[in-house]
Amino acid sequence: MSITVKYFAVLREETGKSQDIIQFQQGMTVSDVWRTIMDKDMPTDIKVAVNMEYTRHDASLKDGDELAFFPAVTGG
């Protein structure tokens, strides 16, 4: 019963890690995970993907999901 959490770019640097494995709890949303890990509310400009698809901050999670947090993208 776990969720993989990935961090990219400035978030990877700020947290000092590229990945966490956290305990999955029934009814957990994306922003619940952020609050659990960071101990503060999730800023509105953070981008989120679940299982490599963009999603909303209030999206519900399920056991085994891969969650990713990252800033605005700057490729191309």
């Binding site: 990935k6 990219f8 770019a9 400035v10 990877r12 993907a49 490599m52 698809e53 963009y54 990713a68 990252f70 800033p71 605005a72 993208v73 700057t74 490729g75 191309g76």
Partner: protein, 150 residues
Amino acid sequence: MKVEITESVFNPYEVIAQYQSSLDKDGRFGATASFVGSMRDFNDNQKVTGMMLEYYPGMTEKHIEKICQNAIEKWSLLDVMVIHRVGEISIGDAIVAIGVWAAHRGDALDACKHILEDLKSQAPFWKKEQTKEGQRWVKNNTSGYVKSEE
């Protein structure tokens, strides 16, 4: 369709020409639009000396494939390819190359622009620039026009 992420320097025109020769669609496409983005030595009013490009292995490829698929459906395209560099990048290096093959020019050109804009606004890549004052994460992509920055 071809989507490739690479850590190696690539010659964009060789990649486009090679992919085209693999298509076996001579006589079907009348129009090929392509775009190559290269690393400039200047950004946001500062001299840049190098760059690191981070991505999200798995999601990045998947998302670019989706962007291309959407374009193929919206315009009438025969084929699309995108190659994007990651890792350490030097001034003048190609960062991205897009090739779009269609029967007609309007479809090819409009789709090429659209794929590029989608890629820049959605595909998970992050640039960290090296300047004389140190490294900095690029916060946002520019609008794409000189005039809007003046």
